[in-house]
């Protein structure tokens, strides 16, 4: 892990150039440019609101209204998008850049890192929108809309309530959350990037895996529902659920994150980064031969 840090700091200029290139390359040639970074989460939000709210009638409680649910989902979508994108792109990044790896003495360890940084920066464009939404709804509560769900509750005792929206000093915890997210994400990214060279099927598997993981994480439905149905263990072993609930505390409820949960997440992240980067650097001399 230290070797990785040293190399990244030695190649920080190149890393920076790759991040800039990637951010510009995302929407280069498209007329709306960076506006897409804003549009994407919203489009996703509408899709999932429609599917989960209107079609499947996933319920929160009588007090929770559409606006709250929308922001709650949007926070989750934004964070997940950065994570999911990084790990699926990392898997293929060595193959995509094989020209550099095979023809140039190239520090390939910057590849998963630049993807992670790039998508986190992209996420930073989405987060203010969540915050803006919270500000709007806090000041104009009548805009929040009808309570969701539309169907009557069967068992009021199991209602899934939600604290009121709010913003506060806890936003200061955002950089910490993002740093931990980066460590966790890039750790997985390094492992998958190297593994994909041994078995290219990994890349195809990742497409499915990321989707399954996304739906296993309470992004579009209340976590209490999972517990209620007896699948609480899924939440207990899903670090992304921990991370996203911490983000939600900070972003839309104005509360400090659950520090214990965050510490657990950090510990797992560090272990993953340690193992992932070890594996990556161990196999790195072989990369030109494996491609």
């Amino acid at each position: 892990m230290l070797a990785l840090a040293r190399s990244l700091s030695r190649n920080r200029r190149l890393l920076g150039d790759f991040v800039v290139r990637d951010l510009r390359g995302r929407y280069i040639g498209s007329s709306m440019g960076f506006f897409w970074s804003v549009v994407y989460p919203f489009l996703n939000l509408f899709i999932y609101m429609f599917v989960f709210g209107l079609v499947l009638k996933v319920r929160f409680s009588d007090e929770v209204n559409k606006g709250q649910v929308a922001l709650w989902m949007l926070a989750g979508i934004t964070v997940w998008a950065a994570f999911g994108e990084t790990i699926s792109r990392s898997t293929n990044t060595l193959v995509e850049n094989q020209n550099l790896i095979q023809k140039v003495v190239f520090p390939s360890e910057i590849l998963p890192s630049f993807l992670c940084i790039s998508s986190l920066i992209n996420m930073c464009i989405g987060l203010p929108i969540v915050i803006l939404g919270v500000l709007v709804f806090v000041n104009f509560p009548n805009l929040l809309g009808d309570p969701l769900p539309l169907a009557p509750l069967t068992d009021p005792a199991k209602e899934m309530s939600m604290p009121p929206l709010g913003l506060g000093w806890s936003l200061l915890a955002l950089p910490l959350l993002m740093a931990l997210q980066a460590i966790f994400t890039v750790g997985i990214g390094y492992f998958l990037a190297a593994l994909n060279l041994f078995l290219r099927d990994v890349y195809h598997l990742m497409g499915v895996f990321v989707t399954v993981w996304m739906f296993a994480t309470p992004i579009f439905y209340p976590p209490q529902k999972v517990v209620m149905e007896g699948y609480g263990w899924i939440l207990a072993v899903n670090p992304m659920h921990w991370l996203i609930s911490c983000y939600r505390e900070v972003l839309i409820f104005g509360a400090w994150p659950d520090w214990l949960l965050l510490a657990k997440f950090a510990a797992i992240g560090v272990v993953l980064l340690f193992l992932g980067s070890r594996f990556f650097l161990w196999q790195k001399p072989q990369f030109p031969d494996l491609l």
Binding site: D17, R21, R24, G25, G29, Q102, V105, P288
Partner: protein, 436 residues
């Protein structure tokens, strides 16, 4: 795209001060797996061997003096590029070691890593930083790179709109701007137009004049001979011979001819598909091409004695058959055609009876064709009629290769030329002549 490896990669204790690259017992084996999953099995089950080895480079010793220009030559698949990757440090040797003193830049592939959506300008900057240049260096060299590339307005357009020549020009411009001590080039110069190629060669000459080491990889003996004092001949991953360009050229030529013969006879096995039309009174049964040693061959050197021999057999009576030959370049250009009748002193062959047989030989003397691939067509025509009709016309009987080791002249045809240069200076005329 090129690469810079800063500083010396390994300790220089054993190498003398005048050595730029020192390779000792250098070998590289690539692992070949029958199934991709076997690679993974090997990773998780140590000690299990599921691969075969392919030795791309084997037991190479090299001691390249600083300031020299060395050519590495060999057929495709001889291990030249693999060796270059080892010397650059892109791949790790399986055995042995490489010691390099100084900054290495390698031009393995021009423009590798260009992003098609970005403009030439953006790609120059990114490419430079991949090469390890600092901001200050990029700022300083950037205008020169743009100028050298001669891309004009295209420099601001996305690279995806470039022609392949422009792409390479941009790539070389960036690569040429790095200031290495040792430059490794992999046939990168064989692209671009004549004008740009000239600029590239000038740049290389500058490098040489500055006392830098150049290693040049090619399968083109002509290019290597014009550039390099010292040539290393590789085959099947091993160094066959190394020495002065003249010394190695002979050995190379011998192999090239042998290989040319092999390749051509492989091609010729499949030539029955070419058209043959005939009325059949006379059949050409065999066509042999004979080289300087009188043996049938499919590869010849320019200037070598060249003879074509036909064997024929008459099945029916024929009044006035005439045998002819046509030589074509591989692209279909008609190079030469002749027969034994249309000559100052014609040979007439009249009233051939069924059952007769014989030979016809055309000897071209010294072969005047330059390097390239050619093919041979044979004709037997009945000339007794007002306009001759085909008795046995065979297109594309043999494909053959001409190798021109000296490369003194270019094009298709060797002219037995003679040059005179006259010079007037202060009223006196001097004249120098180069006889044919």
């Amino acid at each position: 795209m090129s690469t810079l490896t800063k500083n010396s990669r390994e300790g220089s204790a054993e190498t003398s001060a005048g050595t730029a690259i020192f390779a000792q017992d250098l070998s590289k084996a690539y692992r070949i797996y029958d199934k991709p999953i076997h690679r993974l099995y090997e990773l998780v089950l140590p000690g299990k061997k599921l691969h075969r080895e392919f030795w791309a480079v084997r037991n190479v010793y090299l001691d390249i003096a600083r300031g020299s220009t060395v050519g590495i030559i060999g057929e495709n698949g001889a291990g030249k590029s693999s060796l270059l990757k080892l010397l650059t440090g892109i791949t790790q040797p399986t055995t042995g070691s490489v010691k390099v003193q100084g900054r290495v830049a390698s031009l393995l592939e021009l423009g590798a890593g260009f992003h098609p959506e970005f403009s030439g300008r953006d790609n120059i900057k990114l490419n430079c930083s991949v090469l390890g240049m600092s901001d200050a260096e990029i700022a300083e060299r950037y205008p020169k790179i743009v100028e050298f590339s001669e891309l004009g307005d295209f420099i601001d357009r996305p690279v995806k709109t470039y022609s392949s020549g422009m792409y390479v020009r941009l790539g070389f411009s960036v690569a040429a701007s790095v200031d290495p001590d040792i430059l490794l080039i992999d046939e990168a110069l064989s692209v671009g137009d004549e004008h740009f190629r000239g600029k590239c060669i000038n740049r290389l000459n500058d490098f040489r004049d500055q006392g830098k080491t150049i290693i040049f990889v090619s399968h083109d003996m002509g290019a290597v001979k014009s550039m390099c004092q010292w040539v290393v001949l590789m085959d099947k991953g091993e160094i066959l011979e190394q020495g002065t360009a003249e010394k190695v050229a002979d050995e190379y030529l011998k192999r090239a001819k042998a290989r040319g013969n092999e390749r051509m006879s492989a091609i010729n096995r499949g030539t029955s598909a070419y058209p043959r039309w005939c009325s059949g009174e006379i059949e050409v049964t065999d066509v042999d091409m004979l080289g300087g040693d009188g043996q049938p061959a499919h590869a010849f050197t320019t200037g070598e004695a060249f003879t074509v021999r036909l064997r024929w057999k008459a099945h029916q009576d024929t009044k006035e058959p005439v045998f002819g030959l046509g030589l074509y370049r591989s692209d279909g250009t008609y190079v030469n055609g002749s027969n034994h009748e249309w000559r100052d002193k014609p040979i007439h062959l009249r009233d051939v009876k069924a059952g007769e047989s014989g030979e016809v030989e055309m000897s071209a003397g010294a072969l005047q064709l330059l390097q390239g691939q050619y093919y041979l067509t044979t004709f037997v025509y009945e000339h007794a009629k007002a306009s001759p009709t085909a008795i046995d016309h065979r297109e594309h009987v043999h494909t053959f290769e001409v190798i021109d080791p000296r490369r003194l002249q270019h094009g298709m045809l060797f002219l037995n030329s003679r040059w005179t240069v006259r010079r007037r200076k202060d009223g006196a005329v001097t004249s120098e002549e180069s006889p044919s």
